[in-house]
Amino acid sequence: MAKNDILLSVEGLTRRFGGLVAVSDVELSVARGEILGLIGPNGAGKTTVFNMLGGTFPPSSGRIRFDGTDVTGWPSHRMAQLGLTRTFQITSLFPTLSVLENVRAASFRRAKTGWAGAFFRTRAWREDEAALARRAEEILDFVALGHRRDMPAQALPYGEQRKLEIAVALGADPTLLLLDEPAAGMNPDEGAKLVQMIRAIRDRGVSVLLVEHHMKVVMGVCDRLVVLDHGVKIAEGQPQAVASHPEVIRVYLGREKVGA
């Protein structure tokens, strides 16, 4: 892989909570156009990795490079401005806004005209508004939520809220999307649809880092897998190879059958 094909690279990533080392010396990278799966037992440190990448808190040590920039310790909004957007493990939306407004609210990066434009209703402002509205509609259609556009987000059923989360993340126009358990609460059929959607997201030119326990989804969509246990990377590689790794089976998969 050529150097500039690497979108995200992480070295020696470590995070301590008091005495607990939640993430220990992890190394991983995501190439452009790649879908990387991050799996591991509960409490392995996956969400903690996400939080550091997404800028929720800084790593205790280690370095994060994104799109050629050293972004170690950057806050969330700067990460997002650079093109790295995350979703949250616990559903996180703008609850009282409508579905459409949720996506619009996320398009901060895209909007150009500020308050003065709106005050004088300038042409630039009107065009900007129209373009953003079109784009939001397009994203909603993409995640198949177009029919819900005027419903408040909090009234959506759980599964659709998860889809809306993805739509919101896409609204922020990322180049790398971090998805934390998007398939939680989905049945196998919905899981299969999600696989399609993630592929489609990649086809829009967005790389994906995916945390998921739903093995059908993981095996169906990921190009590569990284496995964490107790904060330590225990395996990495092609999905099939990882799934038959005895240590991975012992600590994570158990007797689950993971045919792709």
Binding site: G185, N187, P188, D189, E190, Y252
Partner: protein
């Protein structure tokens, strides 16, 4: 044992359940299958009294329970382990178990026995009686939630998506646990998005779509049903 008939529930002025009929017999495992937003959680909440039904009725052991408060329903043996666990983040595992036994019919007398039983089911919890629930991993939290429910001496246990967010290996343990409870004679109403798993465990199943029961029958028969296979099993 548990009999729901014509159950209706509304959120604001939108009706979410349009008249649900279902039954759980003594010692049976029954599963509710349905896509997102079908109304599974709503059904369980209405049975446990968290939501008020706007129509229909719920009977348990021949007694109407749909006008009772949650604590009274629990006292009768209908226990709901909710979606998302809803633990008390700053309280210890032991405190959860104590509070779980609050309405147990056998009172103090049965407490020690039940505690042993729960620890036997979930040995991890015994090691961690003094740990605060909020600091436990997802799977452990799920165990605490189920254990808390078991301490109430359920005759009928309702589990809402117990596998949510759990690693595959923990889901296996969970399935074993459900079967153990079943063998102990507890009726189980299981809501689970892992439809394959749910149908494997259950005796009977109901399929819910937008607030209505559209199919029901023996679990293994439904697992072979084309409509179910297509809509829920991704086949």
């Amino acid at each position: 044992m548990l009999k729901v008939s014509g159950l209706k529930v509304r959120y604001g002025n939108r009706e979410a359940l349009h008249g649900i009929d279902l039954e759980v017999g003594t010692g049976e495992i029954v599963t509710l299958v349905g896509s997102n937003g079908a109304g599974k959680t709503t059904t369980l909440k209405a049975i446990s009294g968290i939501l008020r039904a706007t129509g229909g009725q719920v009977e348990f052991g021949g007694e109407r329970i749909d006008r009772l408060s949650p604590h009274a329903i629990i006292a009768r043996g209908v226990v709901h382990v909710p979606e998302g666990r809803l633990l008390f983040a700053d309280m210890t595992v032991m405190e959860h178990l104590e509070l779980g036994a609050l309405r147990a019919p056998s009172g103090k007398a049965g407490y020690a026995r039940r505690l042993d039983w729960v620890f036997e089911l979930f040995p991890v919890l015994k090691e961690r009686v003094a740990q605060r629930a909020g600091t436990m991993s997802g799977g452990q939290q799920q165990m605490v939630a189920i254990a808390r429910g078991l301490m109430a001496e359920p005759k009928c246990l309702m589990l809402d998506e117990p596998s949510l967010g759990l690693a595959p290996i923990v889901v296996d343990t969970l399935a074993d646990t459900i079967l153990t409870l079943h063998r102990a004679g507890i009726a189980i109403l299981l809501v689970e998005q892992r439809v394959d798993l749910a149908l494997r465990l259950a005796d009977r199943a109901y399929v819910l779509e937008t607030g209505r029961v559209v199919l029901s029958g023996a679990a293994d028969a439904l697992a072979e049903d084309d409509r179910v296979r297509e809509a829920y099993l991704g086949a």
